[in-house]
């Protein structure tokens, strides 16, 4: 009997059967007490002032990294998105190749996960908050640029040729016809990226780039589960609050610039919030070139 056509792609999944057998064979209850104490700590998080202050500091750094990376990537993403749109170039100059060139150039940056960017930049810039910011900014900017360019290109507003034939300049037509048409989906996406940036900055923290993620990792490695749960609960509260704020913006899209401006102001204040960015020492550049060429 031949398998039905839709089932054929599932055939490689059969390799999971022997793997499952091995895994279940190796199961033992040695870690069960540890797991139970971790679960029990969820109901009794540490409320010691020193722990609470430490977690609050961690959340503050995570939030600063989130807002700064989100703000910068939103602004850069919008600019690159406009430049990556074939429609915009056709409107401006009657050509589309610059948009295609930019898209091709940005594609590799998008393909690398922020975690990989974080680990790469850590080697170059050392351990500081800006590494996390740049690691998030690079893929987020390129992804937002792609979303915006696609949104602009898939729009066919009938008013576009109408205003063009009435003598309006390309930029005026773009502002008046294209921007209102893409504003809602783009602002929704930008809001969604704030949520994603929060999770990314937390994960980057787990890999040693500072903030609450780093605190959680250290507490977990020391088996201080109550401290871990203090951080997790406070993080959950922060995420719920952020979600509420985002919902507010979803219904009032014109309010989105408010957190964006806030984020960019935070970026300006970044240096006073322990986000110093020491640029790579020029004397070490030959070393970096050799390191990359390897």
């Amino acid at each position: 009997m031949r398998p039905a056509l839709p089932l054929i792609p599932l055939i490689p999944g059969l390799c999971l059967v022997p793997m499952g057998l091995i895994l279940f064979g190796d199961v033992h209850g040695g870690g069960l007490p540890l797991l139970c104490s971790f679960a029990a700590a969820a109901l009794h998080p540490s409320l010691e002032p020193s722990v609470l202050v430490g977690v609050a500091m961690g959340i503050r750094i995570t939030l600063v990294v989130t807002l700064v990376s989100w703000g910068i990537s939103s602004v850069l993403g919008c600019l690159l998105g406009v430049l990556g749109s074939k429609k915009i170039w056709r409107l401006w100059a009657g050509i589309t190749w610059p948009a295609l060139l930019l898209r091709k150039g940005l594609a590799p940056l998008r393909a690398v996960h922020e975690l990989i960017w974080g680990l790469l930049l850590l080697q170059i810039l050392g351990l500081n908050g800006w590494v996390a910011v740049i690691a998030i900014v690079i893929p987020y900017t390129v992804l937002l640029a792609r979303v915006i360019a696609d949104q602009i290109d898939c729009q066919e507003p009938p008013a576009l040729p109408a205003l063009q034939s009435s003598g309006a300049s390309a930029v005026s037509v773009l502002l008046t016809v294209v921007v209102p048409a893409v504003a809602h989906p783009v602002l929704d996406h930008i809001n969604h990226r704030l949520d994603c940036a929060l999770r990314s900055s937390l994960i980057l923290g787990v890999f040693g780039l500072g903030g609450l993620g780093t605190d959680l990792m250290l507490s977990l490695q020391s088996l201080r589960f109550q401290e871990v749960w203090t951080g997790l609960w406070l993080m959950a509260i922060t995420m719920v609050l952020m979600d509420r704020v985002l919902r507010l913006f979803r219904h009032r899209w014109w309010m989105t610039p408010i957190p964006l401006v806030l984020a960019l102001m935070t970026a300006g204040l970044g240096s006073s919030l322990t986000l110093e960015l020491p640029w790579p020492n020029p004397q070490l550049w030959p070393f970096y070139i050799i390191w990359f060429s390897k």
Binding site: P158, S165, S166, A168, S169, V171, L175, T176
Partner: protein
């Protein structure tokens, strides 16, 4: 009278056979023909949104495709599908007709709020739109109201020549009469219509059949038999 638009042996595949004609200043022209005769194609060639496969189109002696912005805004079009911006308000849509006369800053100010409301209210009065609709979103308007917003946008452009593609097709008779009255106050116009009974209000009648210009005469010269031939299938 000055020649505004000159078409010389202009054609576009099967949609329009070679056409040569001249539209002069202060001339009111009606374009008649059955559905699919090529009226919209001819108007879109005249406003530059379609390029001819052969022949030349000139605006006041200059090639149409090479016109500068200031020259291009002299040709206004009232589109059959209106082509309003659904996301914007009535005032913003009316003001978009004046984008050809202003720069980028003006366009930004128009997007951000109420720009030149007095001028827009006067235009709304001219097209018999209630002033209360000024800040209303276009999507909230009825078909007739949208038609009048499109007309107000056209008036805001202040064109020398108006090309109107079946502007009365979706309107009830009293409103159609009002819209035609307004269009005929403009200095020069080419209006495509399905209603030959209105041709006596124009200076010149153009007739298209199967993409071919078969009639170019004054309304007095067009009799019932000519019209029957023009609309024959």
């Amino acid at each position: 009278m000055i020649a505004l638009l000159e078409l010389h042996q202009v054609s576009l595949g099967q949609r329009l056979r070679p056409v040569s004609l001249t539209i002069r200043a202060e001339e009111r022209v009606v374009l008649l023909g059955a559905s699919g005769a090529g009226k919209t194609t001819l108007l879109n060639l005249c406003n530059g949104s379609l390029r001819p496969e052969a022949g030349t189109i000139r605006w006041k002696g200059h090639p149409l495709q090479g016109l500068k912005r200031q020259q291009r805004r002299c040709i206004g079009t009232l589109w059959q599908d209106l082509r309003l911006i659904d996301e914007l308000s009535v005032i913003q849509n009316i003001n978009s007709g004046a984008l050809g006369r202003h720069g980028l800053l003006w366009a930004i100010r128009n997007l951000l709020g109420r720009l030149e409301p007095k001028v827009c209210l006067e235009l709304m009065k001219a097209v018999q739109l209630e002033p209360a609709l000024l800040m209303r979103n276009i999507q909230d308007l009825s078909g007739g109201q949208r038609q009048r917003v499109a007309l107000a946008r056209l008036l805001r452009q202040m064109p020398e020549l108006v090309l109107a593609d079946e502007p009365l097709s979706a309107l009830d008779p009293p409103l159609a009469k009002d819209v035609l009255d307004i269009l005929l106050t403009l200095p020069s116009c080419v209006i495509s219509l399905h209603r030959p009974e209105l041709m006596h209000r124009f200076d010149r009648v153009l007739g298209l059949r199967n993409g071919e210009l078969v009639l170019d005469a004054s309304p007095e010269m067009v009799n019932r038999q000519v019209l029957e031939e023009l609309f024959a299938r």
